[in-house]
């Protein structure tokens, strides 16, 4: 019997008892009081009659017993509304001397008093009254009270029991509500008995444990769910749990599938509903958080490496630009066939290779200048397929699966091609022998959780580019370092270790994300997600044909903080007839322009400069002369601090190290008023 039923039974019994009292007590009291009243009344009447009769006796002591008429008259004197009575006067022998009798029904109440003659008893007077009317009245009173008693019983029973039931329902609702809170809390709740066996789990705990509540009931916590290496420590910690104190611990939790999850537990000593001692623990699944933390650490590491690499590459670019300009100038001084010209050309080729490495590093560090425009990723992938196929051996099969729908993204198609090329060649090199490389692209929607897991900032629609190979795969240790520059598993001399770093840099610069999943012997999957644009991809204008190498006589303002590069550029421009006004930074550039704005026909600005960057310097120059043409020159797209990219606007951008011919063509085009030529890719 449950407690509520027990209480209900007690209430029923109490209600019955009270009702019985309520029904029976008033008649009993009434009967008792009435009996007392009747007895008292009889005694009083006997007393009164005895006084009168005693007078008769005193007046005629010898013959009083024959004064029947007078005695009967006394006995007949009754109150107006008298009860039926039997009144008798007896002599000492008990003979009835006189009586006045109504019909009395048993039971009767009788009172008797002695009749005295000078203090000596000579007879008795007896007065009796039937108790039946009293009993009937008491019974009627009881019957009259019965409905009230029933009402009282119903009230006494149903109201408290109703309240108890309502309380029980409220408690059940509260329990259900609490259970639902527990279920939606996203926190696992586990209750253990004194022997640390599971007695209760919530829905979240079921999910964390990978088993239903029925399956885990009675299982020992430590031996079933704690990783063997941590059992002793966890047992020791649980043993320290105290009432009113919350103990925090974290351990790897074993699941039936064999996988582990990391949980943080908050444990306290708590009794169950029956008062039995035990433990109550709430656990938060930190598995994903720990993974994200690892990813964050990894990303921060890559960011640091990238910043270092970018800085180095930037400096290298400037140096290489100087080398290339002087080498080009030197080459023009030697006739073809001259061995010295060949040496100079080797210098130029080496500079180009060095520039390529620097460019890769810049790409990884996301400081590569990106000519981003809306493009259809599907078209880019199909175009890249033509570039990629010749690179693969005949025993490698390439599958390209592209969605029919357009996949508009804001991207530099050349860089995206680079990504595809790098991933496919990376897969090719990983497979080694015969195998399959599958490249696919499609649109997908990621919710917040999925986006976070993929390393993206926001949920939304993304273009998913996936490169899968069935190669040997790699373990977690390799996976953790995949995107580090110069990290390679290839033999020395067979890889630069920059391929995946470049991919990482490009994807990051496109505000996308790349993930990799692989296990040894199970191939590898690289998944890239780029934000999808809402609108269709506009038709790209055809690139203008490259203009012929020409010089001029105009005056050009050149702002470049790198002295060596500035000098070589001044020399190059002056050699083809231009007058050059030099500036070492953005502020100086503005001052020089202000001083000579009537004659300055074009401003050539390095983007990243101390004090004032090229973009802001041009903005101020444009305040003085809004129509002056300009060109930007840059080795990377971020400012010196590397904190943010510099929006360049519609002005053309020349990438360092710039080819002298390319620079002169671009200058001439701007002076001649060619409108917004397409960005010129550096050699």
């Amino acid at each position: 019997m449950n407690p509520v039923d027990r209480v209900a039974r007690l209430v029923s019994m109490a209600g019955s008892a009270l009702t019985a009292l309520a029904v029976a007590l008033p008649p009993i009291i009434y009967f008792g009081l009435s009996y007392q009243h009747a007895a008292g009344s009889l005694e009083a009447e006997a007393e009164l009659n005895s006084i009168a009769i005693t007078k008769v006796i005193s007046a005629n002591p010898d013959l009083w017993t024959y004064e029947q008429a007078r005695l009967s008259e006394f006995l007949a004197r009754r109150p107006r509304h008298h009860d039926a009575e039997r009144r008798r006067v007896r002599d000492l022998k008990g003979r009835v001397v006189a009586e006045n009798t109504d019909h009395l029904e048993e039971p009767v109440v009788e009172r008797s008093l002695p009749l005295l003659d000078s203090g000596q008893p000579v007879g008795r007077i007896e007065i009796a009254r039937s108790l039946r009317p009293l009993l009937l009245q008491a019974l009627l009173l009881g019957l009259g009270l019965l409905p009230l008693g029933l009402l009282a019983f119903i009230t006494l029973r149903s109201v408290p029991i109703g309240a108890i039931r309502a309380g029980q329902q409220a408690l059940l609702r509260q329990r259900d509500a609490a259970q639902s809170y527990l279920d939606v809390a996203g926190v696992a709740f586990v209750r253990l008995d004194e022997a640390w066996r599971i007695t209760l789990v919530n829905r979240q705990a079921e999910a964390v444990l990978g088993r239903s509540a029925a399956e885990v009931a009675g299982l020992g916590w430590v031996e079933t769910f704690v990783e063997p290496s941590a059992r002793a420590a966890v047992a020791e910690a649980l043993g320290k749990a105290r009432l009113g104190e919350v103990l925090a611990l974290e351990h790897a939790l074993l699941r039936p599938s064999g996988e582990t999850r990391t949980l943080a537990w908050f444990v306290t000593q708590a009794a169950d509903e029956a008062g039995r001692p035990g433990l109550l623990a709430s656990g938060v699944d930190l598995t994903r958080q720990r993974e994200l933390e690892q990813k964050l650490v990894h990303a921060q590491k890559l960011e640091a490496v990238g910043r270092l690499a970018g800085g180095v590459a930037h400096e290298f670019n400037n140096i290489l630009s100087v080398i290339k300009v002087y080498a080009s100038s030197l080459r023009r001084g030697f006739e073809p066939g001259d061995l010295r010209r060949t040496d100079v050309e080797e210098i130029i080729a080496a500079s180009d290779r060095a520039a390529s490495v620097a460019r890769s590093l810049l790409t990884f560090s996301r400081r590569q200048v990106m000519a981003a425009a809306p493009v259809d990723l599907a078209k880019v992938l199909r175009a890249a397929e033509r570039l990629v196929r010749p690179l693969l051996r005949s025993d490698l099969r390439l599958e390209v699966v592209v969605a029919d729908e357009p996949l508009p993204v804001l991207a530099d198609p050349v860089q995206v091609e680079q990504v595809i090329l790098n991933l496919v060649t990376n897969a090719r090199d990983a497979i080694g022998e015969a195998g399959l490389v599958r490249v696919s692209a499609r649109a997908e929607f990621l919710d917040r959780e999925q986006a976070r897991a993929a390393g993206l900032e926001a949920p939304g629609r993304y273009a998913r580019l996936e490169v899968v190979d069935d190669g040997p795969g790699f373990d977690a240790a390799i996976r953790a370092r995949l995107f580090e520059p110069f990290f390679t598993t290839k033999e020395v001399g067979k890889g630069t270790g920059l391929g995946l770093s470049i991919v990482y840099g490009i994807v990051s610069q496109h505000r996308g994300a790349i993930t990799c999943s692989s296990e040894p012997g199970r191939g590898a999957t690289f998944t890239i997600r780029l934000p999808l644009l809402d609108g269709p991809v506009p038709v790209a204008a055809a690139a203008a044909p490259m203009a012929a190498l020409v010089g001029g006589s105009e005056t050009i303002l050149l702002a470049e903080d790198d002295l060596a590069l500035r000098q070589v550029l001044v020399r190059l421009l002056q050699r083809v007839g231009y007058t050059v006004v030099e500036a070492a930074d953005g502020v100086e550039a503005v001052e020089r322009f202000q001083a000579g704005r009537e004659r300055i026909a074009l401003v050539l600005l390095d983007v990243v400069m101390p004090r004032l960057n090229g973009r802001l310097a041009l903005d101020q120059i444009r305040l003085l002369s809004p129509l002056v043409p300009a060109l930007f020159l840059s080795g990377h797209a971020a400012d010196v601090s590397g904190q943010r990219e510099i929006p360049l606007g519609p002005e053309p951008l020349l990438r360092k190290p710039v080819e002298p011919e390319v620079l002169l063509q671009a200058v001439r085009q701007r002076l001649d008023g060619a409108s917004c030529p397409a960005p010129v890719k550096a050699g």
Partner: protein
């Protein structure tokens, strides 16, 4: 059996008493007498006269126990001679008792203080008993004194006429009326109650010192003369009761009741002596 009172019998009884009376010096014979209150006043005067002629007999007049009480007391030997206002009932005769009528006295309706009326009409009395007349002509409230239902006087009144019989039934059911248990009580109640009216006898009026006014009945004054002449119709007969074989003193007393002296006393006290029954 009832003995009718006759001069022959009385003479015989008187002679017997003289012949068989106790010799001088012998133990005195005690004669215990009681009965209806109507006769007690008369007996107080009869007894000394009897004792004078019967020196060996001491008559003890006990307080009134009423007619029925006296009959029962005689039957049980508690009395030697009873005085009753009614004859014996058959069950009383069956107990070996005999009764002899010795006098008649006018049955009177008397009025108490502050009543100026001098007479009653039968119809008026009926209305008084019914409660329809509640005041005397002078405005005084009529205060009716009743006797118990079984009392001889009540039975006597109910026998006067059917109207009075019915009116008495109504009166006995009325509340707040004075009820007197004995004749003496009745006279006392009448005497102390202003505006009262109730039954008594001329004998009582003459022998008890109460200032009550006997009322004329239908215009006839209750006197021995009117009773004797029949003009006054309401006469109450008085009886002496004894065992069938009474003590000698009883016999002598009964004989004395027929004597000249006794008759004088009876008449003086408002009684009309009843002649002894004829000798068989």
């Amino acid at each position: 059996m009832t003995l009718g009172g006759g001069p022959g019998l009385r003479l015989l009884l008187a002679m017997g008493a003289l012949l068989f009376g106790p010799a001088p010096g012998a133990a005195r014979e005690l004669l215990r007498v009681s009965g209806t209150g109507t006769a007690l006043g008369t007996f107080r005067q009869l007894i000394p006269a009897f004792e004078r002629v019967n020196p060996g007999v001491t008559v003890k007049l006990l307080p009134s126990v009423g007619s029925s009480g006296a009959i029962q007391a005689v039957a049980e030997g508690a009395l030697d001679l009873g005085v009753s206002g009614r004859p014996l009932a058959p069950r009383e005769q069956a107990r070996g008792l005999v009764a002899m009528a010795y006098a008649r006295t006018p049955f009177v309706f008397a009025a108490g203080p502050r009543v100026s009326a001098t007479g009653l009409e039968a119809a008026q009395l009926v209305r008084i008993y019914r409660g329809e007349v509640t005041t005397w002509p002078d405005g005084e409230r009529v205060r009716l004194v009743l006797r118990p239902r079984t009392d001889v006087d009540t039975v006597f009144i109910r026998a006067i006429s059917p109207e009075l019989d019915a009116a008495m039934e109504v009166a006995l059911g009325r509340e707040g009326l004075v009820l007197a248990a004995t004749n003496q009580d009745c006279n006392e109640a009448l005497a102390r109650t202003p505006g009262s009216v109730g039954p008594t006898t001329l004998s009582q009026l003459l022998t008890e010192s109460h200032s009550l006014r006997p009322l004329d009945w239908n215009g006839v004054t209750p006197t021995i003369v009117n009773l004797t002449s029949g003009a006054y119709p309401l006469g109450k007969t008085l009886w002496v009761v004894s065992r069938s074989v009474p003590p000698a003193a009883v016999t002598r007393f009964i004989a004395f009741l027929g004597s000249q002296e006794a008759n004088r006393i009876l008449e003086r006290t408002g009684n009309l002596p009843v002649p002894p029954p004829p000798r068989p």
